[in-house]
Structure formats: C-alpha cells, structure tokens
Symmetry: C2
Subunit: 104 residues, 2 copies
C-alpha cells in the first residue's frame, strides 16, 4: 500500500473507528455492559464478525471482556475509559445523521 503524510495516530484512529461495525458496537456498549448475544441481536451483523471485532477492540484497549464464572458462565463486554472517550464522536454521528439524512 502507498504511504501517506498523515499523522500516523490520526490515521490509525480513523481506521479504527471506520472499521466496519466497530462504531455500531461501541454505540451499543454505550448503553452499558452487554453479553455477546445481546449485542448480536441488536446489530445487523453475524456472530463471526462480532467475535472478530470484539477481539480487535479488546486488543486496542477500547473494549473489556469480563468473565463471570457462574454456571453457565456469563461473559460481558464493556467499554474501557478509552472506549468511553469515543462517545462524543458517536454522538456527533447521531446528530449529523438526524440533521442531514432523510427521515425515511
């Protein structure tokens, strides 16, 4: 791939949130910690991609995976501080969408 003269941090941040589904997963977690199946049923993506994205977001320190060793085991995903800091961006997208996109 070509190289660019962009700030590498900005470029990385942009790639991170513009990875398909990443923004919507963060949005979903803004309403609180949630289990895999809850996220899956609230977003139009499949378990495979959700699983991949959650791993990537965990890797980036945006999402935390909490395991509760109950029976059956319960696993909840939540936003880290770094993830919560994305809220203004997500809210920005909400506002832009309601201001500029057709109400259907």
């Amino acid at each position: 791939m070509k190289e660019s003269n962009l700030c590498p941090r900005f470029e990385k941040g942009m790639q991170l949130i513009s990875k398909r589904w990443a923004g919507l997963i963060v949005y979903q977690l803004l309403s609180g910690p949630q289990r895999f199946c809850t996220i899956e049923s609230n977003l139009p993506l499949s378990g495979k991609i959700l699983s991949e994205r959650l791993k990537e977001l965990e890797q980036e320190g945006v999402v935390r995976r909490n395991v509760y060793p109950e029976t059956p085991v319960r696993i909840e995903y939540s936003l880290t501080e770094k993830g919560l800091a994305l809220e203004p961006i997500i809210r920005g997208v909400e506002q832009w969408s309601s201001a500029w996109l057709q109400p259907e």
Copy 2:
C-alpha cells in the same frame, strides 16, 4: 443480512463514515477543494478506490465535483454544506487519537 432495531438514519450515517477511506477523504477536503491527483497523493489509497468513494460521496451529497473547462480540463472536489457538517466528527477523531493512541 440481519435486520436491526437501530434508528435507520443513524445506522446509515455510521455506515457512511465508516466506509473505508471515506473519513480520510473528507478530512483531506476540509483543507479546501482539491484535484483528484492531490487527494490521491496525500492518502494511502489507489485511484480506483478514490474514484469509487468520490462517486459514492457525491451521490450522498457530501462531496461536489466541479469541472473547469480549461485546457486541460481541471476537476476539483469539494465538500458540500452537508460534507462540511462532518467536521466536528473528524476533529473528534483527531482529538481522541492524540489523547489515546501511542505517539508512534
């Protein structure tokens, strides 16, 4: 694909800016109208994808394509009002990146 219970406008807005390269193209145009080759040389993507994205963004009303019939013809891309309204989101990504990503 599965359906979701998200606000369709928000979902569409999110898909729009999280389309690969779209955010960086808008960012690039925030510094003023620019020609195809200028955008191409400032971002790490190829002409093929840039061409596709610009068409999509034009379709969405985010980008305008201005043709100046000089010789040789000059074509400049610029943000519409709708596109300019994305600025706070892009700035948000800049700020988040500088606050939360490793400097290097």
